[in-house]
Every structure is written in structure tokens, then in C-alpha cells.
Subunit: 246 residues, 4 copies
């Protein structure tokens, strides 16, 4: 086919290739804010279903972790997905995630229409070592815990008649242990017995027959959603393939 004389503008492009031999982590946030407080289980499950579809669609994603309105996807260190171009990886992944979100909405919210077009923003980060990827995931799970504990207290206090600012003042400066006490003493809630999906967030990953602890059919790889601890070593020892270097 013929060429256009305007084609020269193609040259005005600055590269955005991500550093080779590093783990690419993509974190996406929902712009939606009309969910139930402190946790909207249906919204979380819809996000998990989207993450599962995304990990099934893009084979280079090795692990995914989400809570509240965010989800992180870890691409394998050696991925050549879209030639490691950041903008391409960000857009195609988030676009697919968004598509599934809209398409699956009705499965999770039978009684509620999607009012406006939901959207997600995202960015990529590269981590040079497996240790740092684990620390990244530990960080997100720590934040999940800190936020959930705080919000659980906050909304119980609000439910008991306080205004939002009174409740916030009550929690100001309280330590982890104090918050658990508030939940237990005033509301007879044992924090450790709250649903794991709220306390631990959700992990989505591929399990092979050989991985321990989960039953997968012989010779098959399955994508599972779990709410396990990913800060301590145990999980990673049981799933050594996930963050394997090669």
C-alpha cells in the first residue's frame, strides 16, 4: 500500500520499554465509590472474577492480589508481553479487566444496575528481585489489614450512633490491639473471625497438581481464588513455582 507523507510523525515517539529481567507489577484502582461500607462482598467477588478472567487471558501473569478497590498483577520476570512496552501492557490489561467487569456485573448485582461506565486507572512498576516482589505483596496485604481493621471499627461506631467525625476522633491514635478491643468489648466481634476475604484480601493464581494444599485434577492447571496469608513464608514455600526466577 501507498505511504502517507505525514508518516514522519511516527518518529516522534519516546520509548516506554520496561527494564528487562525485572518483575512487572501492574496495580489498578477502581474509580467506583458507591459500594457498601466497610466491605461490599459482592463488589469484591466481582473484582475477583475479573482478576481470574484476566489471569486466564494473559498467561504471563503469575499472581494477582486484590482488596477493596484495587488489584495488582505480577507478570513473570522474563515476560515479553507487548515487547514490555508499559503503555501497551497497562492498557490491554486494564481494558480486558474492565470489559469483564461490565459483562459480569449482572452475575453479582442481580438487583442493581450499572449506573455509569466504570473505569480503572493503573500503572506499572518494575521490581528487580523476587524478595522485593514479595515485599510489595506483603505491603498490599498489610494495607488491606490496616484499612479493614480501621474501617470495621469506624462503621460499627457509626452504626452505634456516632457521627463519622466522632467515630474518627474515637479511633485517633489507637493501636492495633486497642481496635480489636473496641470490636470485642463493645460489639462482641472477634476480629479474627471476620471473613478472610475482608481481612486478608484475595489471591488469584494458577495451581498445578503438584502444588500442595489444594486439590487440582491430575495434569491440570487451574486458576484459584484464595484468601491466604502472603506475608509469611508458608504460602510461598507451598507454591514455589509462582515466583520462580525463570
Amino acid at each position: 500500500m501507498a505511504n502517507s507523507k505525514y508518516e514522519y510523525v511516527k518518529l516522534i515517539e519516546v520509548g516506554d520499554k520496561l527494564m528487562p529481567s525485572t518483575w512487572i507489577v501492574l496495580r489498578t484502582f477502581s474509580e467506583e465509590h458507591e459500594f457498601e461500607k466497610p466491605n461490599d462482598e459482592r463488589a469484591l467477588k466481582l473484582m475477583n472474577a475479573c482478576a481470574k478472567a484476566t489471569i486466564e487471558e494473559f498467561p504471563d501473569i503469575v499472581f494477582s492480589y486484590g482488596f477493596s478497590d484495587e488489584y495488582s498483577f505480577v507478570f513473570k520476570k522474563t515476560t515479553e508481553f507487548y515487547n514490555r512496552r508499559s503503555s501497551k501492557i497497562v492498557s490491554i490489561t486494564v481494558s480486558f479487566f474492565t470489559s469483564v467487569y461490565v459483562m459480569k456485573w449482572k452475575e453479582f448485582f442481580l438487583d442493581k444496575d450499572l449506573k455509569s461506565a466504570p473505569s480503572f486507572d493503573a500503572r506499572t512498576i518494575c521490581y528487580p528481585s523476587t524478595e522485593i516482589v514479595r515485599d510489595y505483596l506483603a505491603w498490599r496485604q498489610d494495607v488491606c489489614h490496616i484499612n479493614n481493621q480501621y474501617n470495621s471499627c469506624l462503621w460499627m461506631l457509626i452504626g452505634s450512633g456516632m457521627t463519622k467525625s466522632e467515630a474518627q476522633a474515637e479511633l485517633e491514635g489507637k493501636q492495633k490491639q486497642d481496635k480489636n478491643e473496641i470490636l470485642f468489648q463493645r460489639f462482641h466481634i472477634n476480629y479474627a473471625e471476620l471473613p478472610a476475604i475482608f481481612r486478608k484480601g484475595s489471591c488469584v493464581f494458577k495451581v498445578r497438581e503438584t502444588d500442595s494444599g489444594l486439590s487440582v485434577k491430575r495434569g491440570r492447571t487451574e486458576v484459584v481464588i484464595d484468601h491466604c496469608d502472603i506475608i509469611r513464608d508458608k504460602f510461598w514455600k507451598n507454591h514455589v513455582n509462582i515466583l520462580k526466577d525463570k
Copy 2:
């Protein structure tokens, strides 16, 4: 709230801020390929509706141009949208576009279900001057024309009984004028009379009362979809506000 000891990983981030005082152009491509050939009018109109919704959602987009499976969005030179961070701009825009695409699918394809989750990739480019932005848009409209003329011939030849490779061989090395001749002599098609949406692509932009050539209610700004020539000066002289520097 408490901090996580893993928070240090936040520091491992490389900036992706786009150069200030430049026009940001975002181009997105559909990954979908099951449309009618050579042009699927319903698919084009769905894309146009998405572009219109996108331009209405994000006020810093000043112009948008699309054809076939691609759409370009021009952000104003001084935009501070997401602090000019490339990944954020790319993800939120494409995510919103995708959402609308899925939500509006049924309006355009009454008889056809969305088989799989559609997705779009994208990237940003910065252009330092208005002239280069115009050349960029001229380039895309040139490509629209070149592709459409070629594909119109190709699919008429295939429709007349040739195999795809026979039709390709027939068109090999043919000039613009030759292709118009093929259409006219063999198929009695006057290329210039094909629908403008196929020949010129689609422009989506805001029109104010003061802009000439289009009737907009007094004091109102409306987003219009048009299939005009954006290579020559005329359009830009009639719409000087679109690519104004400030």
C-alpha cells in the same frame, strides 16, 4: 492509620510524566477482528459513540478521530489530567472507553451477542507543536483513505469470485487512480460516492454556538460526530478553538 514496614517498595518507581506544554495524543486499537469487511458500519458507529462518551467524560480531550479499529484522542497542551502521568492517562481513558463499548454494544448489535470480552491497547505520544498535531491527524486520515480504497477494491474483487490472494495480486503496485478505475469500470462504483464514514473516518469534537457550519443551540457546547476532511485548512479555520494553544 498505621504504616506498613513494607512501604519502602513505594520508592521503587520510575516516573512517567509526559513533557509539559506538549499535546498529548492517545491512540487506541481494538483487539476485535470479527467484523464485516471491508467496513462494518455498526462497529464504526459503536466506536464513535464510545469516543463521544469519552470526550464528554474527560473535558481535557479537545478532539478525537477514528476509523477502522483505531481511535485517537488529543488532550489539550496544558492539560494536568492525572498530573500528565502517561500510565494513568492511558489506563483511565481506555478503561472508560471499554466500559462504554460493552454497555452500548446492544444498541448497535441487536442481533449479535458479545462473544468474548473486548479489549483495547493504547499508548500516548507528545507533540510539541500544533502543526505536528495537525500532521498527525492528517496522517491518520490519509491512512484511513489508503486502507479504505484498497480494501474496497479487495473485497469487491473477492466478492466477484477471486480468492483473497488473487485479489491481492491484482492490486499489487496499483496507484490510487488505478484502484478508482477498477471500482468504476468493473463494479460501477464511484469511490467518491461511498459513505463518508468509510472514506474520511469520524471526527468527534465540541462545537460552540460561535463555531461556523454547524447549528448548535445558543450558549451551548455540544459534542458532534462528523466525517469531514481534516487534512486541508478549511476545517481548522472554521474551528480555531479546537487546537488553540492556551
Copy 3:
């Protein structure tokens, strides 16, 4: 010649190409701090000589401005010097500047040896329009003036017997006019009569016969050092070729 099996590491490189069609400005700072206060004329003249040699060596530098321990070099908008790779441009320019600095030291400091190896750091910035390049240069000349006025007062006060912190306290919050008054009332110095090299800094640029205001031999281009005002329009009207777009 044979290849090395380790050559794969070449691929691990992230591009640093500067945006095309923008003015590249390189600013370099000296690490040397043992000069006379408030201004060391010999040091300034050595820097000027280095800038002149640099502009003669690299034809794509169209203008250069320096004062105190810094020098800025403006590369033409269309330069393809080292394929616009930032690190290459920065290193070769600063390396050449440094070489000349060491080689010419003795011309300016007859009585003083170079004690340690002088070094300069630098970085590039891209500016999309001529207006912004002019504002950049105006900014540096403004800073030259502000610093010089302050330092002239400071060192006169110190010379008159104050300690450094007493002199700083004296100048705290003083406006431009106040500082000129101090110089005039206490020290009988008319600021406007201080040498232009201190007040205005130094401009180094090519002059052709056709440029007004400076006598250059017929048909020749010469590199001149001048201490003119580059904030107002006059200089740029007299030297329209310097920041020409093409």
C-alpha cells in the same frame, strides 16, 4: 569478527532519546568552590573561553549563557547530535568543556595551580517552544542579577567588618531597591556601574555579517562573548537567526 556469548546484556538498555522537535538545553555546574567573592573575574573568563571553544566544536549549539559557576547550552530544535541520546549529549559536551577548562587554566590563573581535578555535572531539559527557551534564558539572567546584587551587598558588609551572619541578617527581607541603596549610601557604589560580566552574565553565540550591532568580517561567522540583556526583546530582534525554528 566473532561474537561474544555475553552480548545479550546489550539488550538490557532503556532508551534515553530526547523528544524530537524540541530545543535541548544542557546546563552544567562547576564543582569548584574556591574562587574570589563575590565574583572571580578570572574564573568567569575561563568559563567563557570554555563555552566559546564548546560552541565552536559542536555546531548544533546555537546559544550559550553563563554566570557564576554555571553554563547553559542551547542545541537547535532539529539537532540529531548523537541521535538525541541524552546521556551521550551530556557526557561528550561536559567532557569537552572540562578538557578545555584544564588546558586553558594557566592562561587565566598564571599564579595559581589547579589543586585538584575540576569536574562539572550537567543535565538536559527539552523545551517545546521558542518562547519557553527565551523564558529559560531570562530566568537564568534574572537569577544572575538577583544573586549578584545580594552577594555584592553581602561581601561589602562583610568587608566593612560584619560577620557573615550579621550581614545576612541585615539583608533579610530587603527589596531590590533597598539593596541598591545600601550599596550607594554606605559604600558609594552605583550598582548599574558594576562590570556587566557580573550583572548580566555572559552570552556566547555566533554572529554573521548580516547581524546588526557587532562588526564581523564580510562573509564570516564569528563566535562572540557578550554581556547583553537577553530578557528584553531587543537582543533577539537583532539576532533573529539564533532561535530560528528551522
Copy 4:
């Protein structure tokens, strides 16, 4: 001090911070080409002296390797030198190297003046793992060997009366072993007996008392220049501190 109204241009700057937790390697090339062929021992020794001064000046450089007209500097993985800004690291290092080069020239070239101002270009690369840094260094030493063997043959053939293109044709397609044969059969040169500085290049690094194989005074760190093999493990086992991760 007062501010300038032009200061806004400061904002137009795109970050060039290098990825944290990666090894930064800076490679610099000389622009000088008038040395003796195939190897100019004095020029190599001058480069080595500059590398030694550079490693002494910048404590974050942990290893340096050079041959012919190039030198590589490895900064430690955790360096915060100039806040990891690529342009600053490149400029200050190369500028210092250049200064020393000019200042020490006379020590090595007693009978030869520096004709023009020597200059060096450079760029940085980040490597995420120690293995890749070792492969990088192995690559450069491999290239040193390949080039030196080829050039040794080439210049012996030229010395024996061939033109340069005859000599090049003679070597075309020759394997490593063939080239050693040419040297031995025709010129009675045992390649392995050529000076190590030519065959292996030069390593510059810090040695502590505790490192094996080199005698350093008790409690002291010394910078040594050596011509050892850095492809095989032995060197790195004897100097485990050099590429230690922390």
C-alpha cells in the same frame, strides 16, 4: 532571596532517575584516535590512572574495567549517588575522568603534546542482578580478547608488507585458533605471551587486607590495577566483597 517570574520553566523537566536496587554501569568511550596500533601502552596506562583516580574519588564505584578506548564503572546496587539521576552521574563521572586525563597526560606522554581537547562520551545502564553484571563484564573482556587477537594479526600482516585491505581479506572468516596459528607460524608470536594488559584489559578495584591474593597493608583499603581474568569464577570467589548485594 527574591524569585524570578521565569522560574516556572523549572517544572518542564522529565525525570531520569535510574531504577533503585539495580547495579548502575557507566561505560565511557574516548573520542581520541591517534594512538599507536594495535595497542598504545602509554594511552592504556593513562586511562588506567584516570580510572584509579575516579574510583578513589567516588566511593560508590565498586569495580572498573577498561581496554582500548573504553572504560566501564560499576556503581554499587544501593548507591544514592546524585539521587541516582542518570545525567548527573554520567556528567560528573566523565567530567572528573576527563580532568584527570588532561592533568596526567604529561606523566605518560613526555614527548607528545595534547593536540586538541580530548573528550569522552558515556551512558548508564542498569542491571537487576549480580549475574548480569558479571555477564556484562565478561562480555567486555570477551570483546577485548576478540579485538586484540584480530588487531594483533592485522597489524603484523600490515607490518609484513600487506595493505590494510589485503590483511583484512586474509583474516576474513578465520577462527580464533587460525589467528593464533598465523601469529605463531608467520611471526613466531605466542599469543598467550603477549602482555596481559593487551589480552585481558585492566581491572581497577579496591582491595582490603582480608581479600586473598594481593598484599595490602593491615587495616587498609587500596585501589589496585590488575589484568586478571574476570570471566571465570576464580577472581570473584577471591573478591566476594566487590559485587556483594548490600
